[in-house]
């Protein structure tokens, strides 16, 4: 005889779970008792949103599903943001929520929330378990759904009575889970070889092709295949915000990030392409700009494991539903030694762009405020090459993506689809917990920091020594940038103050080693000091220039061809610039 609570923990152990992030409360209480003796490490968070983002960071860094466990009602609603974040960015995670007793559901019981109803559109799937005996099978199916096909978050809602050993309805005879019984779920992973042959021919004949690499490549563990494919055909690659690191930034075929804040060459390569090979990417509006003007001459080959992505935004000339790694491997063998069109003109055209429009920023004049881009470049050069970087959402995120050199897959973790401020610190904790031997830097903004900083207490207590580079510009900088550019410099509710709170004191109060940096000369020493500390979290507060804006930029509603470059490069634009 077992009970639902014990069975849940045993089921999680059977799935190979090593760590979970959570916070207990009434409805989930019985489940917390067997945690004491479980082999699974539990990280006690300070806010449930943190548990969710930690599970995401862990999942992205390790490739294993992240697990979060929280109680009912307000805890479950606190989990909604990370669930949706994971759903948008296809992150495999399983979230366990407590629920009021089955008989009390629908009665407005204390801490009752319609969790499966609320999270229906924020999860790949969710379960409300009514019978304790269903727990082992449901947990097995939850992990199966989360980790196969297009990965995503799955929530399992457990009424208290079925996990509470004091309640007879929690008792049952343990039965090992069997193969998932999900008649409506059979993700196709193998590509159709006829389509692969057609695609191979189209690629081989293209004169101005671009491989448009998306986050799906990382989800499919397809970085090696991407590199092999790109090198085989000699086609330049753009790596989206979700795919940074899928091909080393130092690789000669890597043009870098496309999109709203992409670099000139990456954006223009897509605009001028005659063929885009979309690999696990989804034509997000942040990549395409105004759709009517996006890549007007390009034919499209679109590979995605999710059939609903094919043709969702842009009609594909060849749409291939498959695991993108398997599809790339099939393309590699189908192309083999097929003659490739002469693309030397195309490549030299693009390297012309690279020379003319590199990422630039104006160095600070002596005595002037610190430039955030400079900080990130120094941080990049002063940290190990395989450092894992997480980021919040805002200007600092774009600068981090632009100025870091991602040489390895799974070294860049951010909130791409949902754009969740506050993501970086908990995501970094999750990543560091999963990859304890790696240096993990959270690049954060002052606005973001104030949303989830309390998880640094978690990091201190649990001895998960992450490092935070806080780019304190005293503003909700990205919003300020838009108000400056598109609202006549009318700044509405974007000023935060660089001094309030005192970030150094706050970080110290949370058990961190804290350093404040105000001038360029202090930057390197501070980074070296931070990289030396490994017994607790570090926060380096960089006071950065609030006037700095992110360029290049495609304004909302504009086409990518209207990309605005750094003011110092405007005169080099064809026609003198926009």
């Amino acid at each position: 005889m077992t009970n639902g609570g014990d069975a849940l923990i045993r089921s999680l152990e059977l799935e190979g779970v090593e760590i979970m992030f959570g916070l207990p409360g009434g409805a989930i209480l019985p489940v917390y008792d067997p945690i004491i003796t479980s082999s699974i490490r539990h990280v006690l968070v300070r806010h449930e949103q943190g548990a969710g983002h930690m599970a995401q960071g862990y999942a992205h860094a390790t490739g294993k599903p992240g697990v979060a466990i929280v109680t009912s009602g307000p805890a479950a609603t606190n989990m909604v943001t990370p669930l949706l974040d994971a759903y948008m960015d296809s992150v495999p995670m399983v979230c366990i929520t407590g629920q009021v007793a089955y008989s009390a559901i629908g009665t407005d019981a204390f801490q009752e929330a319609d969790t499966t109803g609320i999270t229906m559109s924020a999860t790949k799937h969710n379960f409300l378990v009514s019978d304790a005996a269903d727990i082992p099978q449901t947990i097995h199916e939850a992990f199966h759904i989360a980790t196969t096909g297009r990965p995503g978050p799955v929530l399992v809602d457990l009424p208290k009575n079925i996990v509470n050993p004091a309640d007879p309805s929690s008792h049952f005879e343990w039965v090992e889970p069997t193969a998932p019984d999900l008649p409506g779920y059979n993700p196709t992973v193998e590509p159709d070889l006829d389509l692969i042959r057609e695609a191979a021919a189209m690629i081989s004949a293209a004169k101005r092709p671009v491989l448009y690499a998306g986050g799906g490549i990382l989800k499919a563990r397809g970085a090696d295949a991407l590199r092999e494919l790109a090198e085989l055909v000699g086609i330049p690659v753009v790596t989206t915000l979700m795919a940074r690191g899928a091909l080393p930034d130092s690789h000669e075929l890597n043009l870098g990030m496309p999109g709203m804040h992409g670099n000139y060459t990456a954006v223009m390569s897509m605009q001028e392409a005659d063929l885009l090979v979309a690999l696990g990417s989804r034509f997000d509006d942040r990549v395409t700009g105004k759709l009517d003007g996006f890549a007007p001459d390009a034919k499209i080959i679109h590979v995605d494991i999710d059939p609903a992505e094919l043709g969702k935004v842009r009609r594909a000339d060849i749409g291939i539903q498959a695991d993108v790694r398997l599809a790339m491997e099939a393309l590699i063998s189908a192309i083999g030694s097929t003659n490739q069109a002469d693309r030397s003109a195309w490549r030299s055209h693009l390297s012309g762009y690279q020379e003319k429009f590199p990422l630039v920023y104006e160095d600070s004049a002596p005595g002037d405020a610190l430039k955030p881009q400079f900080v990130l470049e120094r941080l990049r050069d002063g940290s190990p090459e395989d450092t894992i970087v997480t980021s919040g959402v805002g200007q600092h995120q774009m600068w981090a993506s632009q100025h870091w050199n991602f040489e390895h897959p799974y070294t860049w973790i951010n909130s791409g689809g949902l754009g969740t401020m506050g993501f970086s610190i908990p995501a970094a904790i999750g990543a560091k917990a999963g990859m304890p031997d790696r240096t993990v830097w959270a690049v954060d903004g002052d606005g973001c920091f104030q949303m989830t900083a309390q998880e640094l207490v978690t990091a201190s207590m649990e001895r998960i020594p992450i490092k935070v580079a806080l780019l304190n510009n005293g503003y909700l900088g990205m919003v300020k940038q838009w108000q400056e550019m598109f609202y006549d410099e009318r700044y509405s509710e974007v000023y935060l103050s660089p001094d309030l709170p005192d970030y150094k004191m706050w970080a110290e109060a949370m058990g961190c080693h804290a350093i404040r940096v105000e001038s360029p000369e202090e930057v390197d020493a501070a980074i070296a000091e931070a990289n030396e500390v490994n017994d607790r979290p570090v926060v380096v507060e960089f006071r950065t220039d609030p006037r700095e804006k992110v360029f290049p930029m495609v304004a909302a509603g504009a086409t990518n061809s209207e990309l605005m470059v750094d003011p110092s490069q405007t005169d080099k634009l064809p026609g003198g610039g926009h």
Partner: protein, 162 residues
């Protein structure tokens, strides 16, 4: 029915909450469900949901793909009206005094409708036919005065191979 009406048939797992998941995907996009019919199939582990939605084809195609992604949706098809047989059932009560009933009986005979009940001042009639014929029958009864009406929503199946 106009071109904007499409009939979608899905086979789903017969589990709590499945209808909400399906309906939720339509609601999210602001698509109005014109009619809806749900019942178990011959295998009671599965149900069939038939809905008629008022929407352009292109966005519908996207929703159908999204529906197909739902874990509990086993199979989904759009019924092509030219190759499908569709039926709807209606029960209707008209206000007619006993002396004025002959025309209603005639109409019922013309449509092969069934008179289910007669009251002191009203009659209850049922009809199972194509949605268009059901519409038409309803319109022709309207002058007599309709006091109650219930329609089941369309169900359909693909035509058999000749």
């Amino acid at each position: 029915m106009s071109d904007r009406f499409h009939t979608v048939v899905c086979k789903v797992e017969n589990k709590a909450g499945v209808l909400a998941r399906v309906a939720g995907l339509f609601a999210r996009r602001g698509f109005n469900i014109e009619s809806l019919a749900v019942a178990p199939t011959d295998d009671d582990a599965f149900s069939r949901i038939t809905f008629v939605v008022d929407v352009e084809s292109a966005p519908l195609e996207q929703v159908v793909k999204q529906l197909d992604k739902l874990i509990n949706v086993v199979d989904i098809r759009q019924l092509d009206p030219t190759t499908a047989i569709q039926r709807e059932f209606m029960m209707i009560t008209v206000d007619v005094a006993p002396d004025d009933r002959q025309p209603v009986f005639d109409l019922a005979e013309e449509y092969v409708a069934e008179v289910l009940d007669t009251g002191a001042n009203d009659m209850m009639i049922s009809l199972s036919d194509t949605p268009a014929r059901v519409d038409e029958f309803e319109e022709r009864l309207r002058p007599f005065g309709i006091s109650q009406i219930q329609r089941t929503g369309t169900v359909g199946m693909a035509k058999l191979q000749p």
